[in-house]
C-alpha cells in the first residue's frame, strides 16, 4: 500500500480538514516540480514486476477449523530485515499490508525485457512462499487466497477477539472485524478511522447473496446495532468495515514504459483489458461465511473504502460538499490519457477546477491535467504532524498521498523524485490465484499482451462507458463463461489515429468511424463478445489474444525453457476462457455446494471452509492434482536464475 514512512503524530480527520487544501495545493506543486525534470528523462528500458499479497492461515486439524493468524505483521518485519540492513539484489522484497494476517511480496529486482525472464517469475514466487513458510509455525500456512471465506465470522482470527458491539472496535466500529486484525502501523488504523469519519457513518458493504434452495427468502440478518440494521440490505451479505475489502489479496503488475507517451498508451490500452482479466482471474465467491452471487472482490473493496459523504453520494442535497461523485475512490478509471483516446472519454469526469487550471497554466496537456484534477477531487485521508510543511522541490509526499489513495483499475505513476525509476503504469485488477503457476501465468500473459500491443500497434480503445459496463459484468457469478463483453470489432490500426476509417469495419471499408463517433455512435467500434472469443479468437470476428501472442513469440527469440513455460501459461488462460478449466471462484462454489455438510442454505460453515482450504493448500503444494483448475504442468521454471545476474544479462 506504499507510503509507510512517517514522522510525528498521525492526525484524525477533523485535524486533517484544515490542511486539506494545503496538501492538495502542494501535492500539485510537487508534481509540477517533478514534471519539469521528468520531461528530460532519457529513454527508459522495459522493467516490470509482480506483487502478490498472501495470507497467513492457521489450521486446527483436530477441530477442523481454519483461522487467520495475526502474525503477518511480525513476519513481515523479519522478512524486511535484509532490506533494512542495506542489502541489495535480494530475491524478494516485503511490505506490510492492511491486515495483520497479510504480507505482500515482490521480486527483489525488477524483471527486464528479455524473454528468459518469463521463466523466472514462477520460481521467484515459489522462493517467496518458501521464505515466508520458513518463518511459520507447523500449523500455519501461507496462502495466496483472494478472500478468506470466513472473514468476519465468529473467531476467525488467531488469537481471537470478542466483539460486543461497535464500541469494541473504536477504529472501524465493526461488528465483525476486530481492530486487532488491522496492522498497527499508524497509516492503517488512521486510514480506516478517517475514511469512516469523512463519510460520516460506518462503512456499509452489501453484496448479493447466492440464493440456494434452503436460503431464507428474503434473506435478512439480525444485528445488535441499529446502524448496521439500517445499512444492511435484504438478500445481501452485509459487511461493515474497510478490512472486508483491504483485507483481501490481489495480484498486481507494474511496467516501466520507455517514456511518458508510452506510459499513457499502455494506461489507455490496458484499461479495457481490466474487466476481461478480472473475470478470468475470478477467485472470490464467498464472504463472511456466505456464498455470494459475485465471483470477484472488486465491488467489495470499492465499498470498503468509500469515503464519500451522503451529499457526495447524491443521497442528500449538496450543502457542505462541493459535488456529487459517482464512484468510490477505489474503482475503475474515468478518463484515458492519450490525445487520440480523447474521443472515447464519454463518462462524466468530476474534476477539481482549481487544480485543473493550475496544471493547464503550467503547460500540462489537457488530458493529463484532467486526470490529475479528477484524482484531486479526493481529500487526503492520512497526514502526520511533522510531514505537513515540506520542500516541494525535493519530495512528493503530498502528491503521493492523494495519488496512492486513488485506488483505480489502472494507475499512472510518474517517476519519484531523485530516483532512477521511469514512468510506470500499474495493472491492478487481477485476483490472487491459489498457486504460483497460475499467478505466474496471469503475470506473463499480461506482460506479453503489452508487448503485443506495442509491436502490432493494436488498439483496444472503446468508450469508457462500455469499459464500465464490462467491469460490472465481469464481477458476476461465472461471468467468464456467461457474460458477453463489449470489445473492439477490429483492433488493427495502421499506426493511425484511434478513429481511423479502416479499423471500425472489416466488411465495409467505406464506413467511417469518425462519422459514427461525431454522430454520437461511440459504440459503433464495439460489439459484444464472449471471453472465449476475446482470448481464443473466432473466425471473422477477432483473432484472439492467444494467437496474437503466439504470433509475436514467433518473431522474437525465446529459449526452450521459457517457451515451454509460456506455452503452459497460455494454455491455462486459453482453457479458463473456453471453460475447459474452472476459475478458482467457480471451483470453490462447486466444492462448497457439493460438500456433504452443506445444507443448500448459502452458509459456508467452519468445517466446510476447513475442508476447502485444506484442499486449496494441497493443490498449491502439488499433493493433489485438480484437473478442474489446471492440467499437469511439465515446464521447469528456473529456481537458480531468480536472483542471479545471468538472468538479467
Amino acid at each position: 500500500m506504499g507510503m509507510l514512512e512517517f514522522d510525528g503524530e498521525p492526525l484524525k480527520w477533523n485535524e486533517i480538514k484544515p490542511y486539506v487544501n494545503y496538501v492538495k495545493k502542494h501535492g500539485i506543486i510537487q508534481f509540477l516540480h517533478n514534471y519539469e525534470r521528468l520531461m528530460k528523462r532519457p529513454e527508459d528500458i522495459l522493467k516490470w514486476g509482480d506483487e502478490v499479497e498472501y495470507m497467513i492461515l492457521r489450521f486446527d486439524h483436530e477441530n477442523r477449523k481454519v483461522q487467520l493468524s495475526l502474525r503477518g505483521e511480525d513476519i513481515s518485519k523479519v522478512l524486511q530485515e535484509k532490506e533494512n540492513s542495506g542489502a541489495t539484489n535480494l530475491t524478494s522484497l516485503w511490505r506490510q499490508e492492511y491486515a495483520s494476517y497479510m504480507v505482500e511480496g515482490t521480486p527483489g529486482v525488477p524483471y527486464f525485457g528479455n524473454m528468459a525472464q518469463f521463466n523466472v517469475v514462477e520460481a521467484n514466487m515459489k522462493l517467496r512462499r518458501k521464505e515466508v513458510q520458513q518463518l511459520l509455525q507447523p500449523d500455519e500456512q501461507i496462502m495466496s487466497l483472494t478472500v478468506f471465506p470466513r472473514l468476519g465470522c465468529f473467531d476467525f482470527t488467531n488469537p481471537t477477539y470478542r466483539i460486543e458491539g461497535p464500541e469494541t472496535n473504536p477504529v472501524s466500529r465493526s461488528l465483525f472485524f476486530p481492530d486487532q486484525a488491522i496492522s498497527s502501523h499508524p497509516r492503517f488504523p488512521f486510514l480506516t478511522q478517517n475514511i469512516r469519519e469523512r463519510r460520516g457513518e460506518k462503512i456499509a458493504i452489501n453484496i448479493p447473496i447466492f440464493k440456494d434452495t434452503n436460503t431464507p427468502s428474503p434473506f435478512i440478518e439480525k444485528f445488535n446495532d441499529p446502524e448496521a440494521q439500517r445499512a444492511a440490505k435484504p438478500d445481501h451479505i452485509y459487511m461493515d468495515c474497510m478490512g472486508f475489502g483491504m483485507g483481501n489479496s490481489c495480484l498486481q503488475l507494474t511496467f516501466q514504459a520507455c517514456n511518458v507517451d508510452e506510459a499513457k498508451l499502455l494506461y489507455d490500452q490496458l484499461a479495457p483489458i481490466c474487466p476481461i482479466m478480472m473475470a478470468l482471474s475470478a477467485a472470490a465467491p464467498i464472504y463472511r461465511g456466505y456464498i455470494a452471487d459475485i465471483d470477484v472482490r472488486w465491488q467489495v473493496i470499492a465499498q470498503s473504502v468509500d469515503d464519500r459523504t451522503l451529499e457526495e453520494r447524491g443521497l442528500e442535497p449538496l450543502k457542505n460538499n462541493e459535488r456529487v461523485i459517482r464512484k468510490s475512490r477505489y474503482d475503475s478509471i474515468d478518463s484515458y490519457l492519450e490525445k487520440k483516446s480523447k474521443i472515447f472519454n464519454d463518462i462524466d469526469l468530476e474534476i477539481d477546477e482549481e487544480t485543473e487550471n493550475t496544471l493547464l497554466e503550467a503547460g500540462i496537456d489537457e488530458l493529463l491535467a484532467k486526470h490529475i484534477a479528477h484524482l484531486w477531487i479526493r481529500d487526503p485521508l492520512t497526514l502526520f504532524s511533522k510531514k505537513i510543511e515540506l520542500d516541494d522541490e525535493k519530495v512528493s509526499d503530498h502528491f503521493e498521498n492523494i495519488q496512492s489513495t486513488n485506488w483505480q483499475s489502472m494507475r499512472f505513476k510518474p517517476p519519484p523524485p531523485g530516483s532512477k525509476i521511469g514512468w510506470r503504469v500499474e495493472f491492478r485488477v487481477c485476483e490472487a490465484q491459489l498457486t504460483d503457476f497460475e499467478n505466474a501465468a496471469f503475470v506473463v500473459f499480461v506482460v506479453l499482451l503489452t508487448r503485443v500491443i506495442l509491436t502490432y500497434k493494436l488498439d483496444f480503445l472503446m468508450p469508457l462507458s462500455c469499459v464500465d459496463k464490462n467491469m460490472d459484468r465481469a464481477q458476476k457469478n461465472n461471468a467468464v463463461l456467461k457474460e458477453k463483453f463489449y470489445f473492439r470489432r477490429n483492433v488493427i490500426t495502421s499506426n493511425t489515429p484511434a478513429c481511423c476509417t479502416q479499423l471500425c469495419s472489416s466488411t465495409n471499408d467505406s464506413i467511417n468511424c469518425t462519422d459514427d463517433i461525431s454522430n454520437g455512435l461511440l459504440t459503433a467500434c464495439c460489439e459484444e463478445m464472449s471471453i472465449d472469443t476475446i482470448i481464443n479468437g473466432k473466425e471473422d470476428v477477432f483473432p484472439g489474444f492467444i494467437s496474437l501472442i503466439r504470433k509475436y513469440l514467433d518473431s522474437v527469440e525465446v529459449g526452450v525453457e521459457a517457451r515451454c513455460s509460456i506455452r503452459e501459461y497460455l494454455d491455462l488462460i486459453s482453457k479458463r476462457a473456453s471453460g475447459d478449466y474452472m476459475t478458482a471462484a467457480q471451483w470453490m462454489r462447486h466444492f462448497v455446494t457439493s460438500h456433504p455438510e452443506y445444507k443448500q442454505d448459502s452458509v459456508v460453515s467452519d468445517s466446510i471452509a476447513y475442508d476447502l482450504l485444506v484442499r486449496c493448500d494441497q493443490i498449491e503444494k502439488g499433493e493433489v492434482t485438480c484437473h478442474q483448475l489446471f492440467g499437469m504442468t511439465k515446464h521447469k521454471s528456473e529456481y537458480i536464475a531468480a536472483n542471479s545476474d545471468t538472468a538479467r544479462s
Binding site: 528500458i45 488493427i492 471473422d540 509475436y552 514467433d554 522474437v556 527469440e557 526452450v560
Partner: protein, 303 residues
C-alpha cells in the same frame, strides 16, 4: 486493354524473361494483421510467407509504369521489394536493435550463404547481421525429428554436406557481416560433431516448438556446457516447396514457364528493440532461379 491488364501483361513478359527473381516482403508486422480472416491458430510460417509473396508481387505489379515510349528493358534478374511496407532501420538507432536472420536453404550450394547475407544487408541497408541461423534443406521425413532414437544421427550422416556450407557461414563472420551463427533442429550428436569440427562454433540451436517441453536431457546438458543457446521456432520442416513456389509464380504472374522455377533460399529477418521486447520489423526475402534455359521466354518485340 485496361491499365491493370496492361500492367499484368508487362509483368508476365518481364518475369518470362528473367532467370533469377528475388522478392522482399517488406515489413509484415502490421500488414499481416490486417487479414484477420486468415488469422487463426493453425496459420504457419509457410502461410505467412505465401501471403507476403502475394502481397509483394501485387504491389510490384501495381507500381509498374506504362509508358509506351520508355518501356522497361527485359532483365535477366528481377529484384522486387514491397515499397508500401518499408520500415527503414535508422542508423542512429541501430545499436538499440537486434537483427536476427533465419536462412532456409533450398539446396546444398555453399555460395547461397554469401548471396543471402548480401541480399539482406542490401535490402535492409545495414552493415551487419547480429545472428544468422541456417536451416538445411529438408531431409527425408524419417530423420526430421530430433526425438527419434536412431543410432545414426541424421546430421552426422550429412556432416560432409554441411561442412562446405558451414565454411561459408564462418566466412561471413570473418568478413564482419554477421556476429553470431547457429543451426536449427540439431540433436546432441549432430551438434557435437559440428561443434568439434567447426572453427567458429555454432552458438545457437533452434528447436521446434513441438518438442520444446521435451528436449532430450543430453542436448540440454551439452548446450549448457558448450554455451549453445537453445531457442525455439515453429516452422514446418519445409517452409516453401518448389511446387508451391511454382504455383505462386504461375498464379500471380501468369508465367507460362513456371514449373522451372525453384527457390534457392528464403531469409526471414526480425528486428527486435533490445531491452523492450518489441518487434520493430519482420520480413521475408525469397530468391528463386529458373533452371531450364532452353527457351528464354517470349520475344520482347512481340509486345
Amino acid at each position: 486493354m485496361s491499365l491493370d491488364a496492361e500492367r499484368a501483361e508487362l509483368a508476365r513478359i518481364m518475369v518470362g524473361h528473367c532467370n533469377t527473381f528475388s522478392i522482399h516482403s517488406g515489413n509484415i508486422i502490421n500488414w499481416n494483421m490486417l487479414k484477420k480472416h486468415r488469422f487463426h491458430t493453425s496459420l504457419t510460417s509457410s502461410d505467412e510467407l505465401m501471403d507476403a509473396l502475394h502481397s509483394a508481387i501485387q504491389s510490384w505489379i501495381r507500381g509498374i509504369t506504362i509508358d509506351p515510349v520508355n518501356m522497361p528493358e527485359p532483365q535477366n534478374a528481377i529484384n522486387i521489394s514491397n515499397r508500401e511496407l518499408e520500415t527503414p532501420i535508422d542508423p542512429d538507432q541501430r545499436e538499440k536493435l537486434k537483427l536476427s536472420v533465419k536462412l532456409f536453404l533450398c539446396d546444398w550450394r555453399p555460395n547461397i550463404i554469401r548471396r543471402a547475407v548480401d541480399k539482406v544487408i542490401q535490402n535492409l541497408d545495414v552493415q551487419r547481421i547480429d545472428s544468422l541461423i541456417v536451416s538445411f534443406p529438408v531431409m527425408p521425413p524419417s530423420t526430421n525429428t530430433i526425438l527419434e532414437n536412431s543410432n545414426i544421427s541424421p546430421v552426422a550422416a550429412d556432416l560432409n554436406k554441411i561442412k562446405p556450407i558451414w565454411k561459408e557461414m564462418q566466412s561471413v563472420v570473418d568478413s564482419g557481416h554477421v556476429s553470431k551463427i547457429g543451426v536449427s533442429d540439431f540433436d546432441q550428436a549432430g551438434l557435437e560433431l559440428l561443434h568439434n569440427w567447426a572453427r567458429i562454433k555454432p552458438s545457437i540451436n533452434q528447436i521446434s516448438l513441438n518438442n520444446c517441453c521435451a528436449v532430450p536431457t543430453d542436448l540440454i546438458q551439452y548446450s549448457r556446457e558448450e554455451k549453445v543457446e537453445l531457442l525455439t521456432h515453429s516452422d514446418p520442416p519445409e517452409i516453401l516447396s518448389a511446387r508451391n513456389f511454382q504455383s505462386f509464380m504461375s498464379e500471380s504472374t501468369q508465367d507460362i514457364d513456371a514449373t522451372n522455377w525453384t527457390p534457392s533460399f528464403i531469409a526471414r529477418y526480425s528486428v527486435l528493440v533490445r531491452n523492450r521486447g518489441i518487434v520493430h520489423s519482420k520480413g521475408y526475402i525469397t530468391s528463386a532461379e529458373r533452371q531450364s534455359l532452353t527457351s528464354n521466354g517470349e520475344d520482347y518485340g512481340f509486345f
